[in-house]
Homo-oligomer: 235 residues x 2
DNA sequence: TCCGCAAACCTGTCCTACAGGTCTAGGAAA
DNA sequence: TTTCCTAGACCTGTAGGACAGGTTTGCGGA
């Protein structure tokens, strides 16, 4: 299927491809169990070692879930694997903070609009709750940060497009590292309260089902964050 | 670092975390070599089996590159791993085509604008070349498709944000499967020529360095594609 | 100083073994 | 008859040894 997994005499690569094909052809869904390692081993005509390494590869991408005593199980995607990838990309200077910021902005303006259109009432309440909590814990940066991150993820989930939630979730680690910089760059309490107020207005636009307003608010949020970072000389 | 890799007595998970930490703490860059498996094995106090499975996990995410006789080397991210993940998400109905379409639209409107601002002359020429080639091979759908995909990826690369190229690249496989549907849904040659004309106009807007126009063109492109698919009853 | 080669090094694969977790068939109890 | 429970079968996680063949390195010669 893919070049990197297809070098001739790359047994593990072939096994990965074969197992991925197996999932596809048998139309397996999350929770469904694959054949045992020894069975795969004899079916694919490779050692159990090779099968195990192939299974690990797929588990790393969270296509599979492995567990002692349990047969390999088809899994749902989650953002952990992607998170590791993004972190690595930043580490090796393949991606910089500004690029992540731009990607977030691009996507989050959309998730805000979609969330306004599609959020359930429960989601609206949750989003407002995070925005409110940010204002309440104004003196405890760690709490503000966690609510901020949770706020944005809640919006992403409310957009009803799991791709957005997946991608934005993958930025979490990076955000956790850069967030305090943004916080410190807002030197006065007034600025910090203004940021929180913006979150709350955004939450209310989403709750009110107003996509234009939600998108505009999200744009303003990113504009002001970016301005704060630039002012602090970070970007 | 991550929950899924931290279950106590999950040796492989610990090894993955330790190796990822190693890369981070030593600030290794693509091409740099890690210690040999046996060295890692004794440093981490686990068997070579465990080390190998950990290395495979990281290689699956393309954080590492493995090769017979070669020590593990730090790698650049590429879209293959992400591609497998997206394909799987579609397979298990976690993601549907429309959601991918919306993600693409959201991101590609941005890449079009950025490409107009940042493209090099060589990139502008290449983008125009793909658009031209689409029109030339109008009777050979496969060729049109490949140029279409290459066109969009070239725009993504010209945006100078590797995240966008990474994400859009991951949609390639899905696009290859759905593209022919869109093609067939444009029943007349006139419609198909109109689509190609739109690509060419977009390419020219990017070459002319006009971001507003490029973004608007990209929006029109997605609107008309979506309309064609809806008309065909696909979405 | 440069080149080439042999030895040292390293990975890919296979095998065996066993501890301990999980599942299931079938018997016991209600 | 149905439900519950358990013993045994099944399965994975980890360890360690072996060897083929690819890669790197440092030595010796030109």
């Amino acid at each position: 299927m893919n070049a990197a997994f297809a070098k001739s005499s790359d047994y593990v690569g072939h096994a990965v491809a074969a197992i991925a094909r197996l999932i596809r052809e048998q139309d397996l869904k999350p929770g469904d169990r694959l054949p045992a390692e020894t069975v795969l081993s004899s079916q694919l005509q490779v050692s159990r070692t090779v099968v195990r390494e192939a299974l690990r590869s797929l588990a790393a991408l969270s296509l599979l879930e492995l567990g002692a005593g349990k047969r390999p199980t088809v899994a749902k995607l989650d953002d952990e694997a992607l998170c590791l990838m993004i972190d690595h990309g930043v580490m090796i200077d393949q991606i910089d903070i500004q690029q992540i910021y731009d990607a977030r902005r691009t996507i989050e303006v959309r998730t805000a609009a979609l969330a306004a259109l599609r959020r359930t009432d429960a989601e609206a309440i949750q989003i407002i709750a995070h925005a409110t909590a940010m204002a309440q814990d104004l003196l405890v940066p760690d709490k503000v940060m966690e609510h901020d991150i949770a706020f944005h993820l809640a919006v992403a989930r409310a957009s009803r497009n799991p791709l957005f939630a997946l991608i934005l979730g993958a930025f979490q680690n990076v955000t956790r590292e850069t967030w305090p910089i943004g916080w410190r760059s807002r030197s006065s309490d007034a600025e910090r309260q203004a940021m929180n107020a913006l979150h709350l207005e955004l939450a209310e636009a989403i709750a009110a089902g107003n996509p234009q307003s939600a998108a505009a608010m999200m744009e303003r949020h990113f504009d002001s964050s970016l301005k704060a970072l630039v002012a602090a000389g970070i970007i």
